[in-house]
């Protein structure tokens, strides 16, 4: 375990704990409007201040962590499932299956993903589940390519030939031999993917097509801060900082894992 990995795990562990324990540790209800304390700067009563409706910013950021981390992890989970299955089928069987899967991936990569997501969310309703699914469905191509190339290089190795010789099925060879040897770099990639998905959700929310208020996500807290940026810097700073630290944490984990396992990707 190297320092980078430890720091990354500490950051993400801390944020995840905060997200899971949100109802117990947040000082206020995240949508509790208090007209007596509008736009209060950070103080003892409100450690990170309040927003234009008098809601406690710390509570909103803690609850926002649930949404933002949840979207990041589930979206990447979806893209991992699709990418791993598509990539292993393409790499292992080759031929027509490979052509069809990888050309579809190429086509998906040609779309400007962000606008594809924008358009889809605009047509469907921008619910949290829709956002997770759409981000997942539009970000599996990198993982599929990675898995495919790993499997292509593993496929001719002798231990795979030996597994065939003892009569292992295609399914057995993929799941028992190929994937355990191919997943390392993919996990590194997926960790970065979580960071990317969180950023994407923030950007969507910022454009008003992400998580809808009053449910707090880091992105939509940021957009709400825009109107009062001149008088209340804290509403912009702290959710921005939360996004920054989270992305940094996931990047540390990715980089740390890469070093830990010794990849040069």
């Amino acid at each position: 375990m190297n320092k980078l990995l430890l720091v990354g795990i500490a950051i993400i562990g801390f944020l995840s704990a905060a997200a899971i324990l949100a109802p117990f540790i947040s000082p206020y209800e995240p949508s509790l409007i208090d007209s007596a304390s509008l736009l209060m700067p950070p103080s003892y009563a409100h450690p990170l201040g309040t927003d234009g409706l008098g809601r406690d910013l710390l509570s909103r950021i803690i609850y926002g962590a649930r949404i933002s981390l949840g979207i990041g992890i589930i979206a990447v989970g979806i893209s991992l499932c699709i990418g791993v299955i598509a990539g292993s089928v393409a790499g292992y069987f080759g031929g027509l299956a490979d052509s069809i899967i990888m050309r579809s991936a190429d086509i998906m990569l040609c779309f400007p993903t962000f606008f594809l997501i924008l358009a889809t969310v605009a047509v469907l309703e921008p619910s949290i589940i829709n956002i997770m699914v759409i981000i997942g469905l539009t970000s599996w191509m990198g993982i599929a390519r990675l898995i495919r190339s790993e499997i292509l290089s593993l496929r001719e190795r002798e231990f795979i030939q030996a597994a065939k010789a003892i009569g292992a099925s295609h399914y057995g060879i993929i799941c028992r031999h190929l994937l355990p040897n191919a997943l390392g770099p993919v996990f590194v990639n997926a960790t970065l993917g979580i960071a990317g998905a969180i950023l994407l959700e923030s950007a969507l929310s910022f454009l008003g097509l992400g998580v809808q208020p009053p449910v707090p996500s880091w992105g939509n807290i940021l957009i709400e801060s825009k109107a009062t940026l001149g008088v209340a810097w804290w509403i912009t700073l702290f959710p921005g900082l939360a996004i920054f630290v989270t992305i940094l944490g996931f990047n540390f984990i990715a980089e740390g894992l890469r070093k830990h396992w010794g990849y040069n990707a």
Partner: protein, 250 residues
């Protein structure tokens, strides 16, 4: 006869250019025929590039021949994947690096339902014992073993399916000289104990002489000489065999 190769040829096409046109043809094997008697050892000898490994892969059906067929005696080889096994040349590449030794050994036992879940450990222990590896290897990973030990584990895995015939594709050529002889003796003992038929592939005629009853000499994918081991050693009829013999005596 337990295995017979009938007019086997294998061509690899070389594709070139944007449109993957065939620009050349490598004739890896050309009209190879032979048969192997039960409980005997057939030595296949030839320099690198003579098609030995291609032949091995075709025999265990990891590769399809371009022409010809591999026939088996159905009364002796009924389930091909169980009755015919292969040990590869490079023991460093033939064990799954992410799998503990016990899982590597359990896999064939489970696939062919040769052991109840409770017996798996005992079976694996027996297999390791047969190849002279201590049973505490079970929980360890391939990286913790030397080349010779790994090759023994590969042999144990091949034995797990209770095969009738094992193809040994240069099983000792990537090992130290001191270990080579021990491994050859182990293979001879296992052959007696489990009533095996061997196809022993090597580039070294001395090794073939030690192991085989009959021999087949490959050059450039063709059989240039085949027959009884002793007869060929005494009177090689093809100049290529002679040159192999000369280099072996050195």
């Amino acid at each position: 006869m337990i295995v017979r190769a009938v007019h086997i040829s294998k061509y690899f096409s070389i594709e070139g250019g944007v449109f993957k046109r065939e620009t050349g043809l490598v004739r890896a094997l050309e009209d190879v025929s032979f048969s192997v008697e039960e409980f005997s050892t057939l030595g296949i000898v030839g320099e690198s590039g003579s098609g030995k490994t291609t032949l091995a892969k075709i025999l265990v059906q990891l590769m399809a021949p371009t022409k010809g067929v591999v026939e088996f005696d159905g009364s002796k080889i009924s389930n091909f994947r169980k009755d015919m096994q292969i040990v590869f040349q490079n023991p460093y590449a033939s064990l799954d690096p992410k799998m503990r030794i016990k899982d590597t050994l359990y896999e064939p036992l489970l696939i062919h339902r040769l052991a109840m879940p409770k017996q798996l450990r005992d079976k694996a222990r027996e297999l390791l014992d047969a190849v002279g590896i201590n049973e505490d290897a079970l929980g360890r990973f391939p990286a913790e073993f030397s080349g010779g030990q790994r090759q023994r584990i590969c042999i144990a895995r091949a034995l797990a399916t209770q095969p009738k015939c094992i193809i040994l594709d240069e099983p000792i050529s990537s090992l130290d000289l001191t270990i080579q002889l021990k491994l050859l003796d182990l293979l001879l003992r296992l052959k007696e104990r489990f009533k095996l038929t061997y196809l022993f592939i090597s580039h070294n005629l001395n090794v073939i002489k030690y192991m085989a009853d009959s021999v087949l000499v490959l050059q450039g994918g063709r059989i240039v000489e085949q027959g009884d081991m002793r007869a060929i050693f005494a009177h090689p009829s093809h100049p290529y065999t002679e040159s192999l013999l000369r280099s072996a005596r050195r």
